[in-house]
Subunit: 206 residues, 2 copies
């Protein structure tokens, strides 16, 4: 028999999964506490045992979406790690934007959709960019060592790459689908440019 | 005697100037139509001869702020145009961030503060970034010709630079003042990296 804590954890999980499903369909801002509780198969009053408010649930979802998106991108990066630099960049960006495309409403959570103020939006974006940056910096360090092509200012390079990819990616969800492919190519060109600049600086330093 | 059209134009200007003064002090989102009319020295009902709503006034202000910020940055760039690349980048970014620092509430307008939805925020940011990008691309083209150091993908380079500066700059206004200086240095390193990458690509192409 599961312990009470494990059961509570399982219900919390069910609420998050229900909210993710509904958010993916209709966007987080259209959800109601009652609707989420119903989808999760719990009484509306039980909701409060897990989250103080819909806002708090929203924060949990931002975290969930960020974690799974980062995991996906990292896996893509590792899969092609041996086939050269260019394709690592392309694989990361394609994976990122195909997630954005397929999970538009979930990605909007990372952009602070459903959040009350532009300052919150900025903070939500800032936090996600920082996490992506830390992941990417780690991968860049490993790649630089493996290929023996040093990169200067790795954390700055990673921050610039993620800032470009994230912001252009965010812009792409407001575009008609036929214009989105061009955005991928723009991001790839710009991220490669940053990579080259970081390598050129390292080469110059000797 | 001024024509009626000229007079209307002058009153519109007075309303915009009043709203800019009040926004700089307290932020656009705290303004009321009545307060703006009073500051401009017109009757509240006259407001509607110039703007259909506070939202429309807000759009006019976004434009004003964008234009003057771009002008400032361009002038800074031209002043140091002859003293070498590094300082052009530093001058642009320092001028940009010192404007942001001194006119925090006006800069917030560009970030969509007072706007109703995150999608509007993204669009406001996107539009401004595009205008800054066009300016910068022009300046980069001129510089590349003057210094005979060609730059590949000039529009992409400009877009990446402006995206980094604008988004890190936006993050800086949520930071305590003592941490803002470090942001300037980060932006400078990243923008230089993009510049170097764009030059390295041009050099490689031959």
């Amino acid at each position: 028999m599961p312990t009470r804590a494990a059961q509570k954890q399982a219900t919390r999980r069910a609420v998050i999964d229900a909210a993710l499903r509904l958010s993916a369909e209709r966007g987080f801002s259209s959800l109601s506490l009652r609707g989420v509780a119903k989808e999760a198969g719990i009484a509306p009053t039980s909701f409060y045992r897990h989250f103080a408010s819909m806002d708090e649930l929203g924060l949990a979802l931002v975290d969930e979406v960020g974690v799974s998106l980062r995991q996906l991108v990292r896996e893509a990066r590792r899969r092609v790690d041996k086939s050269g630099k260019g394709s690592v960049i392309r694989a990361s960006i394609q994976t990122f934007l195909s997630y954005v495309e397929k999970n538009e409403n979930l990605f909007r959570l990372l952009l602070g959709e459903g959040s009350s103020s532009p300052a919150h939006v900025r903070r939500a974006i800032g936090k996600e960019i920082q996490r992506f940056t830390e992941d990417l910096a780690e991968d860049l360090i490993r790649e630089a060592e493996a290929t023996d092509r040093p990169i200067a200012h790795i954390h700055h390079a990673a921050e610039a790459m993620v800032t470009v990819a994230f912001n252009l990616g965010a812009k792409s969800i407001d575009l008609p689908p036929e214009e989105r492919l061009a955005v991928i190519e723009r991001i790839i060109i710009e991220v490669r440019m940053i990579m080259r600049g970081a390598q050129a600086e390292a080469a110059q330093r000797g």
